[in-house]
């Protein structure tokens, strides 16, 4: 007879087996296979029916080519710019919404649901809506601003201008995703003991002082969590760029033509789309290395806290 603990372990593995099989097939295997691909190259003559045997081993040349590729470095710069805009703005918007909705006013549940709703919408749907808002000549934003005497967006709108395109994408994304951060902040704020605020009231603290000295320090774990997920999100950013700008508009930087919103996730997609699987795999491992470094720094910061 098997011991009851051993039997439980075996039963547990039986239950886990379907998931583990799917995990191994669709996640674990592709991760290792991507690494293998990153040292190989698909040429136009590669036999697509026998990719495994027909791809040429090229050592580190995919990685070395990346280091010399201006477009790749530009995509990293764009990604950094995207992250610098997106992370603080999304945290600020989420926190602001959470504070505004942390009350028992009539209809507060409706507002919470309403602000969370865009988060469940598909990014492509949101992207198309914003395309109409940002469009030059006929877009709602341009119409309103023109009435106010601001004609800066009349000719190019928001997304055709290299200076404002990334900001436009980020603004749309912040408003879409703020609901998620709002829920996290709300739950954190509601867990703060009322007695702390009462003590602050007795000490004569005003609302700003209470926010700065009580609320903000106690929601720092949420802020750090949003920084980590925001950073990973920035390195994986794709759908919003694909839906709204296609990596454009084109602009000239250091004499080279580059896409103003050509972030690394979109750049990777372009390589994959061109069937440059080796290059795409090398980019993904490069991005993985960056993600690990940033996550490590963040974890250290969290640990110190």
């Amino acid at each position: 007879m098997l011991k009851s603990k051993t039997r439980e372990t075996i039963v547990s593995y039986f239950f886990l087996a379907p998931f583990l099989a799917i995990f191994a097939s669709f996640l674990l295997y592709p991760i290792f296979y991507s690494f293998y691909l990153s040292f190989r190259t698909v040429s136009p003559t590669t036999d697509m029916f026998s990719v495994f045997t027909d791809m040429k081993f090229v050592g580190f040349s995919n990685y070395l080519r990346l280091l010399k590729d201006f477009d790749f470095w530009w995509s990293l710069v764009s990604t950094g710019y995207y992250a610098v805009l997106y992370i603080p703005l999304s945290i600020a918007a989420s926190l602001m919404l959470a504070i505004l909705l942390n009350n028992q006013l009539k209809g507060h549940s409706l507002f919470r649901s309403a602000y969370f709703l865009p988060n469940v919408l598909d990014m492509f749907v949101v992207g198309i809506i914003w395309l109409f808002i940002y469009a030059p000549h006929y877009g709602i934003l341009d119409r309103i601003l023109t009435q106010l005497g601001i004609t800066y967006f009349a000719e190019k709108g928001v997304l055709a201008n290299g200076k404002t395109a990334m900001l436009g994408v980020v603004a749309a994304l912040v408003l879409k995703n703020a609901g998620f951060g709002m829920i996290l902040f709300l739950s954190a704020i509601q867990n703060i003991s009322v007695s702390i605020y009462e003590a602050a009231d007795i000490d004569g603290a005003n609302e700003w002082q209470k926010f700065k000295s009580i609320t903000l320090p106690l929601v720092v774990p949420i802020i750090l969590f949003l920084i980590i997920t925001g950073t990973i999100g920035a390195l994986n950013a794709f759908a919003e760029i694909y839906a709204m700008t296609g990596g454009g508009p084109q602009m000239v930087v250091a004499g080279k033509t580059v896409g103003a919103t050509n972030v690394s996730g979109y750049y990777l997609f372009r390589q994959f789309e061109r069937m440059n699987y080796g290059d795409a795999a090398a980019i993904s491992y490069f991005l993985l290395a960056i993600t690990l470094v940033i996550s490590y720094i963040n974890v250290k910061l969290l640990h110190r806290k």
Partner: protein
């Protein structure tokens, strides 16, 4: 009791798992005794219905063959096809973009249908369409110098753009006829670019153009621009004709101020602006005729205005190719032969208002029902196929980037074209 509970849970768990992965075999049993051809197509809803009719006609004539039609979204076809080849789940026949055959041929992914008599069949087809499927031996056999031609696919649909114009706007501006050349085009477009409500802002534009290379071909072709050297190794876009042509596109927006800026990211698209009566003239193709008619606008279609090289247009469309692992290649070819037969083309073009790919079907097209086909058929006579490069997508990508910087004046026309030539030579032609 506890064991029974575990056993029940385990059974349910694995039954679901087995059902999830095991339902693929049911389909195969349905067509036993027949030669089944799996075909992936990317037609629109309307086209799909007519295509199924044609398939049904073919199956009635060939009772031993079953064509299993599967729809795939047009934009996802290339990726899905590549994945299916890697996983050995490719269909027997696939409908691919005209830009795809070079790579499929050189990677030996599709079969040479010359032995089935395809060259003979191709003689009856529109040359601009069928040429995207014809390759010389030296292209796909390493080390060969032979110019012997082989055919690897059959065009199932051919398209090209013409000039669509809003008749109502023309009447209001007192213009009787659409422009015949680019000089007339500018004059007419100026008359059609107006501030209709007097608020000081232009709200109706004479013309709207797309940014991409494919949509710009009518300009390049009418200006007589040659893209590649005869050996296909050098890009020739730094020619005087190319500079004049791109300068003209830039001028339409900046100098003549008749173009709406529809080529810019995030702008109102040409189709949408035409439907909304914001753009008086656009380039468009047969696939939009029904949509525009349904939207209720009064529009006409004319030939692309003449340039130094006369009128001309681009060539779009799709080809049907037989994949290398097709189980019944001969039967696949028989279906393709039927698809471009006069009977099938007659049905296809009269019901959908499209251009026939079979020249013999031209006389059977009822132009009284679809008068616009006449213009497209005329336009296609001078159409020029796109440059035959393996990585056409990258060519399009590079050109789109450089055209954009010229149109925004971030680069001069000369610099944009020089950079385009350099990049095309390095990244595409000699990669």
């Amino acid at each position: 009791m506890k064991n029974f509970f575990y056993l029940s849970l385990f059974t349910i768990h694995y039954s679901l798992f087995t059902v999830f992965f095991g339902c693929g075999k049911i389909q195969k049993q349905k067509y036993e005794g027949k030669k089944v051809i799996t075909l992936w197509e990317t037609y629109s809803n309307e086209e799909h219905q007519v295509f199924l009719d044609i398939v049904s006609d073919f199956e009635k004539l060939n009772t031993e063959i079953k064509v299993n039609v599967q729809r795939v979204p047009f934009s996802g076809m290339r990726m899905k096809l590549m994945t299916s080849m890697i996983t050995h789940t490719a269909p027997d026949i696939a409908r691919v973009d005209v830009a795809d055959p070079p790579r499929l041929v050189i990677s030996k992914s599709i079969i040479d249908i010359t032995p089935f008599g395809a060259i003979e069949l191709a003689r009856n087809l529109v040359s601009a369409a069928v040429n995207s499927n014809i390759f010389e031996e030296k292209f796909f056999i390493p080390g060969s110098t032979s110019s012997q031609k082989h055919i690897f696919g059959i065009p199932d649909q051919t398209t090209g753009v013409a000039l669509f114009y809003n008749r109502e706007m023309f009447r209001r501006a007192g213009i009787k006829n659409p422009p015949e050349n680019w000089d007339q085009f500018v004059v007419i477009a100026k008359k059609l670019t107006v501030d209709t409500n007097g608020d000081g802002k232009i709200d109706q534009f004479g013309f709207a153009m797309d940014n991409s290379l494919w949509w710009s071909f009518p300009f390049y072709n009418t200006f007589g621009v040659k893209f590649l050297s005869d050996d296909g190794k050098n890009c020739l876009l730094n020619s005087d004709e190319a500079k004049k042509c791109l300068q003209f596109q830039v001028d339409l927006y900046h100098k003549y101020k008749v173009e709406a800026g529809a080529w810019q990211a995030g702008s109102v698209s040409c189709d949408q602006g035409f439907i909304n009566k914001k753009y008086a003239m656009i380039f468009s193709g047969p696939w939009n005729v029904k949509k525009f008619k349904d939207s209720g606008i009064d529009f006409g279609i004319a030939l692309i205005p003449k340039g130094k090289a006369g009128t001309s247009t681009n060539v779009g469309g799709t080809d049907m190719v037989v994949l290398r692992e097709a189980k019944h290649p001969k039967e696949c070819y028989e279906f393709l032969e039927y698809l471009v037969s006069v009977d099938a083309q007659k049905k296809w073009c009269n019901l959908l208002g499209q251009i026939p790919v079979n020249l013999k079907a031209y006389s059977y097209i009822d132009t009284s029902k679809n008068p616009e086909i006449k213009v497209f058929m005329e336009q296609m006579k001078t159409a020029i196929a796109r440059p035959p490069v393996i990585d056409y997508d990258q060519l399009e990508y590079v050109m789109n980037q450089e055209i954009y910087t010229a149109r925004t004046r971030e680069k001069t026309v000369e610099k944009a074209l020089e950079d385009a030539v350099k990049r095309i030579n390095e990244e595409i032609l000699n990669y």
